[in-house]
Subunit: 128 residues, 2 copies
DNA sequence: TCCTTCGTTCGAATTTCTTCGAACAATGTA
DNA sequence: TACATTGTTCGAAGAAATTCGAACGAAGGA
């Protein structure tokens, strides 16, 4: 989790760092939204949270190399680095994005009824 | 009501928790070793670390549902829960295991002979 | 039974992560 | 220029994760 790179160079993709960045429900949600809706500004995620907190999570994703950010007028547009991730870790992002979907939505591929629920014990977005 | 079956009930697989468990280099190494060498006792990982620390990491993996542990004499045998993981998150474990390998070793699986770059960047295994 | 082995659990110290207000910077608009 | 918008950065407080010694428990062997 070190970022001593220059501003121009993108961080090297390190598997544990990528997995860590995606292990937070909020960040995973951000990535899923970027994957489904394309590049988006930080403020367009409908997340009720102070902007400094939100900015922190984007930074974690950025430092891990999961997303890239560029300015566009006043806004900062975030881009999911699909190609780089695919090149470094083939199939990883796709499987995570797929796994992040509710089972009901995923069952379109696999015909399997499921009656389970999902809840996270750790790193939930509740107040600490 | 006493239900013996629930004694063996494994934790529900939650994606962020699984990703978090695998986001630690040491735990990732443990999982890779379990994947390649099959069930193994805790003390057979060649990790120079107090046993209480090591036990902690096994517990994290266990709580996330990544591995299961059962007693066998004096030893505690760890098993990678491949089937359960595959059922819950198709392709995820495989892509992570594949990504955890050095690039040189991974390119062997590719059908097409990739004569492209041979990045010599070392695998990162620094502690967080 | 005593002792050894293998691993878990406990408790505390240390480190890291998360959150959030406040200050700051960059851009666009009146 | 003055002001609003959009995010970043800083600093501190609180929460969580990691580490490790010590105590404990469950086999197995002498």
């Amino acid at each position: 989790m070190s970022n001593r790179l220059t501003l121009t160079a993108m961080p090297k993709l390190v598997l544990p760092d990528v997995l860590y960045a995606l292990s937070d429900p909020l960040r995973l949600r951000i990535v899923c939204q970027l994957a489904s809706e394309g590049d988006t500004a930080c403020g367009t995620f409908g997340i009720d949270m102070p902007k400094s907190s939100l900015s922190h999570h984007f930074k974690v994703l950025r430092d891990a190399g999961v997303i890239a950010t560029h300015s566009e007028g006043v806004r900062r547009i975030n881009t999911l680095r699909r190609d780089e991730l695919e090149a470094a870790f083939p199939g990883l992002l796709e499987s995570i994005l797929d796994a992040a979907q509710p089972r009901a939505a995923r069952s379109r591929k696999v015909l399997k009824p499921s009656r389970e629920k999902t809840s996270s014990t750790r790193a939930s977005s509740g107040p600490r």
